[in-house]
Symmetry: D2
Subunit: 362 residues, 4 copies
């Protein structure tokens, strides 16, 4: 258990970094949605390496749909998608199997699974699992797109360098113009240099991604436990390396007064809006109809080439370790499609729960 | 739906701020646990008002257990607990029913429930629902206490004033010494003055609560979707006014390098530990056995006496509103037991899922 | 856990036969449904004793709604309903606590809960729990009634006496005319005499109830695991004493040929129907739109006045036992409202999952 | 949704009769269980055709495990297994696409999915989906086998011919000796002749399968909704063609008195047993520790070569249809492994919920 998410739009992932494949089953997609492998492939490409400091592992990431589609459309049956792993080099992982890599799940996985876990490349704990989320997210995006809902994410901070704030339209237009998915080109340049420097130093960098969803209807999310922010935060914590999630003003509310933080209501084009959006589009756990704005903190890549003191869990002795496998100096940009995917999957489930998309499309 | 949480230790809340009662059903508690109404009452008292700027609504909050206990012990059947509401004054809410209170769930609830929601005192969206969480949390704490697991929370920031950092032992000892649940007495004094000043200004303040769980076994939490941090964050977002959740170094990871953020492993008393705890006790979504450290951002009380521009949703006209009902200037301290409760409930469910507590206690 | 049912229309029961109350929380009911305590009371009355051989325990069964209703309508918040137990006499249960009553859950409950279960009157395993189902079922019936769906049940066999088959209209008209809920008055007379005779003999009788749902749309139920028949059967097995569930031709299919059992399609009033209904309204786990016909086997009341050999679980010795508490000679008629309730609750959940009833009613 | 089952031992199926493959993801299997493709293959072989009147479709049914195993053992990550479809002939299905086959899910699937469903060979509604259940069931059987629990099923009736009753030991020994899985060889001969005759007549036959589980601990199953019989019945209704489920004396209870039906308790080898087993191993929804005995009614194969009147759903006209695709005259024997699989999966989930198998095996 643990690998499924969603009440109506339900996804179940499988696969390991150095196993046969990464895959996901999407159950609960309405029938009649046109989907091709090319659609999924296009989104998957966006999470492939390319930017400064990204991994040298070069996976083709070819998406195959093996169930749930007939004649180009979803059938109502579960859609299973997978991508076969090709470019694995497990030698170094086997050699250092028992030397716990600091910051990785090596220790917790070892304890939880009594050493039976597939440790190669992090196994089921690899960032590579987001590949499967992106596949599922593509279907979710197509569905919610039918209501005009759009989801996009961008990098707002890497290694302490912050992108300057801008309007949503500018973010959407500019974020895709550089491989860092940073909508501020000047900051992106500085981030790139910092990443290259960190790579030289055999070190790594963290950052912050902001996800935005626009054109949501007000009223999504159940109160109390299955609320919009709670479910979305749960989904985002499924992305490896995420250490924090905040909505709207987020942690800054600690320094604000009510009179600053409260978003005043107004009427625009006959519709109720708020003048500001400190709530990040969620009040009382329910969407307000304003853009959902959520930020996730992504920790620096745990794999670093520097020597680190650690423990050999088999011998129970102290040892040193420099992580030499292929890895990203800064995983933040590559997590951007994952953030979008988790947002799309979560929103899609709420939309279907609310009965806003019919179970048969036409 | 939306009012239930947990796979094995399952809680289902009900009740509204100005309805008959607040209540919760705890299903899945092992049989044979001694529980009295006095046990629950004791915890419930901790969330009652008292500090500077807390509400004048004075509820007795008498806990009644109406099922699931026989001869002083849990029976394995669901435990229903409730507290009858007594001190309601709904007049002002009825008078201003259609004037949306900024920062509250008035608008989202109105849209979601087509105006049928019980709006009095916020209804099901009131902070008062945490009363029921605390009841459930008390049972959870007793259960996990059997494994030596302890959960406590404290206020680390109010209105921009930060408590100084200290060791866990000091936090636990000092937090309960003032009504703000702030372990730093000097900061607590300044916070108190700031709250009094905000009250004078008819304004309100937000803050940050830190929750800590110690003596957890390593290995709790499922990978990927039902992971420890994701489930806990979902539970914490069920507390009204929470706008962010972070673990360990949290959002600060954005400015850290891997060599700073990685917690190095060491051996102590024959057990593997980490020297630092930037991970906040969670790696790969699984508990490390180090203390779980989680912080939640609590927004300033939405109810403020200052006049605010808003909208009358019935007339669809602009209007002004000063919220005059009884409310807390700063809800942060009163949310401390709620944070502890949600942590205890979440941990308890993981513990039971892992089979670490038998289904019959003796 | 175990006391909740339903994905969107979710019910959570609590209470014990000799505890304070029987209760249920209904979460997920759309907002805006008019409900009064009198509505619920009316349905609850139908399961009260009265026919030949029914129990002498005389509970007022007064329904109280303690949450989720405002101004006469559901609010979208969970509806908690309960009935306080009044007429308990636990003396005999305490006296014979450790002598396992054959056919009851005494032994299994003792093992599962290590002897901590509330054994008085069967505790959580009493047929009295159906009282709470009926409360929830009343809400479900009102909801599905908005689509014209009607659910009713009747007794088709008691102690080997079978009611003669008749058309649905006749069943609906005639079933309520006698306290046995048997639509065949002549059979009902014979059943009554048989029950009186069994009572004399300090014995008990079983029977079969048939539940019928009409005007369902085709297309309800998910394929494979969450299918219509599977979910309904699961709900029906929650009624104590049920030992079998069959749809349409049911177990008789074992002696039929495909050419006999297949229901041929036809067109009537521009709509596709089947000429026969051996399928009982379900094909491939999905409703056909024909009446759903389901039968449940109800075992003879386990409590009998005859002496039975059994075991004292505390002393681990053989002993004899005549069950002298108040009980029904034949529980079958009193389970009729429970069957209707479980059908209504299950259908209501499928209807809501399919988005066929809006989340806000008007 | 609808394609997942189980709380801790969770299975998610996918695939269609004439699609690329049949597959299943098993999530929640403890780590450290040795599993090979050969293990799964062996069980899968048992459901392949062979007996009189079985289909001429000749699928190799080669099992591939594509995730979740490392070094021969489960890793704790989800195990995805699949079998690629090879011998499809969809021509006849395409030709008769809109002529509804009586007794099949053609109509309900068409309505539910708006005609988008993969209709070839019944698509997701084919009996072929049990292939995937058997894969998952093999893992479940291995797990519960560690506690000594054994599950087996046999055919007790086909076309009105009943096998004579015998002891469990005899059933287990004899059932596998003929391709009908009937433990009574004389009845099996008569059944075979009847099947051959029905095949000549282009007709089909139904029957009854009895599933038995031995060595279960007492105490499995949650009371009320998630009880042992309810969950098992839900799982069994997932097998296509099942129209009824009964435990122990089942529907025969309708003609029994309490004094006949009640199983008297006794002590044997220091353990409490019942002298009879009319309860079928379940009381109050909880396992008694006696053998679980459950019977399922399997309807005659809906596909028959005889001409049947039906409707063309596209033209909305009456038409005639003789189903000419390859199919089984009597599917009952081929459903035997499916019954065993669903029993094993359900029991395994209860065992894991109860914490009776550790999450790491050794």
């Amino acid at each position: 258990m643990g690998n499924s998410l969603g009440k109506i739009f339900n996804v179940t992932g499988f696969g390991e970094s150095h196993g046969n494949c990464m895959g996901i089953v999407v159950d609960g997609c309405p029938a009649g949605l046109p989907i091709t492998e090319a659609d999924i492939q296009q989104e998957v490409e966006r999470r492939r390496p390319g930017a400064a400091g990204t991994t040298e592992r070069w996976e083709p990431d070819r998406v195959e749909i093996i169930s749930g589609i007939y004649d180009g459309n979803t059938t109502g049956a579960p859609v299973c998608m997978l991508s076969w792993n090709k470019d694995m080099d497990s030698g170094v992982y086997k050699k250092n199997r028992f030397a716990l890599r600091p910051g990785h799940a090596d220790y917790t996985a070892f304890v939880k699974y009594g050493g039976c876990n597939d440790f190669r490349g992090g196994g089921r704990f690899s960032g590579r699992i987001t590949l499967a989320y992106v596949m599922a997210g593509t279907i979710a995006r197509k569905l919610i797109g039918r209501l005009g809902i759009d989801v996009f994410a961008h990098v707002v901070e890497i290694g302490g360098i912050k992108a300057r704030a801008q309007e949503l339209a500018g973010i959407k237009e500019n974020a895709g113009k550089n491989p860092l998915w940073c909508a501020d080109p000047e900051a992106a340049d500085r981030m790139t240099r910092l990443i290259e420097q960190a790579k030289q130093e055999k070190d790594s960098l963290g950052g912050i991604i902001e996800g935005i969803a626009v054109n949501l209807p007000a009223g999504l999310g159940e109160p109390v436990f299955d609320n919009f922010d709670g479910e979305l935060s749960k989904a985002l914590f499924a992305i490896p390396a995420v250490k924090g999630v905040e909505f709207g003003a987020g942690f800054a509310v600690a320094g604000m007064k009510g009179s600053q933080n409260n978003d005043l209501y107004d009427i625009k084009d006959g519709r109720i809006i708020t003048r500001t959006n400190n709530a990040g589009g969620v009040l009382g756990g329910i969407s307000t109809g304003m853009p959902v704005v959520v930020r996730v903190a992504v920790k620096p890549t745990a794999s670093i080439g520097k020597n680190q003191e650690t423990v050999d869990i088999q011998k129970m002795t102290k040892t040193g370790l420099a992580v030499t496998g292929r890895h990203d100096t800064c995983i933040v940009p590559r997590a951007v499609p994952g953030v979008e995917a988790m947002m799309a999957v979560t929103i899609c489930d709420f939309i279907l729960q609310a009965g806003l998309i019919p179970r048969v499309l036409s």
